[in-house]
């Protein structure tokens, strides 16, 4: 079931880390890749041109949000998501599942799908595998996701049930799909239980999706648990397909993910931290821009950083913008934070191609450990 519109070529491998190219109808995704999140068809506070300047290659948009507002049918009538949001590069849409399950008391799950109430106006809606695919076909992203169920990682019984439903739904998504210019990725679930993850990897691999996503991680488990599951999956998944670790995006998780065979990442973290006045640093640290120590600081966030913000603005200015509640603060911090992660995956990629990834990782890991007590902010 090879679709010539979507091919994945692995260009270099070092231990488990891979550098590759995933071809999509809207451009080639060089991996490892980090995707900024544009929940409502906009990466918050940035124009598409500012994203291009950041060398963003893949953008994620959220099916749940866009289905409710402005509506996937409207977006289809407007020529699809690329035209609607003026982004000509690759787009990935999620299935809506994760958002719906996060609604907690506002949703009821059955074997067939989920009934939920909108967070906007309380209106009643239904999402199931067929509906999720229909919505994602209307949106028109390049990569679309199977409708899955993410469980509490520490609830073994629920993890099994959710995994089983995820497998049934994956098949239904595959049958429901009609567009050949979209790549449907299957999703592996199974919480933090190795046997479930192995089973899920087997089932999803057998369905022969053009790419495989790893769901249900970074949802409350510890970092060692997450890394152990990634190692299990690295062994259990087919090597020739791109692997996407959903919702993960701290520098340390990205580099540790690549080291365990992951190719694609996405996370709201860089733009969300920016709106909470925090700058990400290269080795996992965070700076609270409001801190009085920056009031008279002529230096930028990071004198070695090559982003637009660090090239042109002092910490004193950024702090002034934040304290004055100026919108430009979120824009400039989003640019810096996204650059930090996009630059990291690019450096990782280059180090894999150069056969130096393990050295790169060891250096990162040492700086990360040194940096750790220096004030990691929680958002």
């Amino acid at each position: 079931m090879i679709n010539p519109l979507f091919t994945f070529q692995i260009e270099a491998v070092q231990n488990r880390a891979r550098a590759g190219s995933f071809v999509t109808p809207h451009g080639v995704l060089e991996t490892p890749s980090f995707a900024p999140v544009g929940t409502q068809a906009t990466v918050k506070s940035l124009t598409p041109e500012q994203l291009s300047d950041l060398n963003a290659s893949l953008i994620l948009a959220n099916t749940y949000h866009l289905h409710l507002r402005p509506g996937d049918k409207l977006i289809k009538e407007m020529g699809g998501l690329h035209k609607f949001m003026h982004w000509s590069g690759p787009i990935l849409t999620d299935s809506g599942g994760f958002q719906v399950f996060s609604l907690a008391k506002k949703r009821v799950i059955d074997q067939d799908g989920v009934t939920f109430r909108s967070h906007i106006d309380g209106s009643k809606h239904r999402l199931d595998p067929e509906k999720s695919i229909a919505i994602q076909e209307n949106l028109g992203g390049d990569i679309i996701m199977a409708f899955d169920e993410c469980s509490d990682p520490y609830d073994m019984q629920y993890s099994r049930e959710a995994m089983t439903r995820t497998h049934q739904w994956a098949e239904r998504c595959q049958r429901a799909k009609t567009r050949s210019d979209q790549a449907l990725f299957g999703i592996v679930q199974g919480g933090i239980q190795e046997d479930l993850r192995q089973e899920s990897a087997q089932v999803i691999s057998n369905l022969d999706f053009p790419g495989i996503a790893i769901g249900g991680l970074s949802v409350g488990e510890t970092k060692p648990e997450m890394y152990r599951i990634l190692e299990v999956l690295d062994q259990a998944l087919p090597g020739e397909k791109p692997r996407y670790l959903m919702g993960v995006g701290t520098p340390e998780d990205i580099i540790n993910g690549v080291r365990r065979g992951v190719d694609i990442f996405d996370c709201v973290l860089p733009t969300r931290l920016a709106r909470h006045n925090a700058a990400m640093t290269r080795f996992g640290g965070r700076m609270n821009i409001v801190n009085a120590q920056y009031a008279q600081e002529e230096q930028p966030i990071d004198p070695q950083c090559e982003c637009y913000t660090c090239q042109n603005f002092s910490l004193a200015y950024l702090r002034h913008l934040v304290i004055s509640k100026e919108m430009l603060a979120a824009t400039l911090l989003s640019i810096h934070n996204l650059h930090t992660l996009i630059d990291l995956v690019n450096q990782i990629r280059n180090s894999i191609i150069a056969g130096e990834f393990e050295d790169f990782f060891q250096q990162f890991d040492q700086k990360y450990a040194e940096n750790k007590p220096a004030g990691r902010m929680q958002i």
Copy 2:
């Protein structure tokens, strides 16, 4: 008292309208010119590069706001306003007077200056001519303004008193000034009384400032009253100096101002309207982007507009951003609104140089009249 750093050359005249060039240490200001307002050292929601792309030439920043936060001394230590906000073009700072007098119950005026309480923390401050100049010298704008007092235009007695103080303060500002790389503009006051305006024009002209500002208009008087005062001043002011009409920036007021000899304008209107979800149209109309009629509109705000927003985004998308409370809405609408006014002054300038300004005005005026009932929004 000619300063070679600041020269004004009139390149073309048609009736009372003038096209000129005002040289500043940070570049040439081609007039007529419209200055976007960057109250807190940022034109809200835009990067300096986005302003450059709009061909903005002059930016206004507010002395009152920057003195209180982050402090003019800090900005001086950071290398001045140009470096602080990363804007290499000309900057104009106001005197702080207008903002302080707007504080109403929070300020007390005496012959010497004004005592007021900060809108931020209630702390007590004092502003007088010498202090205003010292602050503006710390900020380091190219054009700085004399400390003046704006009166209620319908209070004749108060208008005379405020004008008299303004004249005394203008002389004190001139004496207080120490930097030769800044041009100090005097300000004419006098409300809507022709005799006061004539007297004020005479006094301020005699002080031989390199440029003259017209204060106290667009503060509650009618448009015919404003235009009549502009005609009086056009006769009373020296022809060879640039004239700046403070705080005025609707399309109709700009074109009517140029027709009465004004060269420079500034206004918060385009960016403020943008944050209130309104797009300006070329002939004085305003579109409320939230209107349901735009929900499925594939066209941009104005298909003939050449701004970045109109070239790339549909009304349906802009409405989606506004309704979803996305920050990008303010950015895209600010770009369109500022483009509308900057493009207007450029067209006016070209028409004056081509000897076609009167035709241009008549066409504008007709469209303005037709457009008027169509829904001018009040902000």
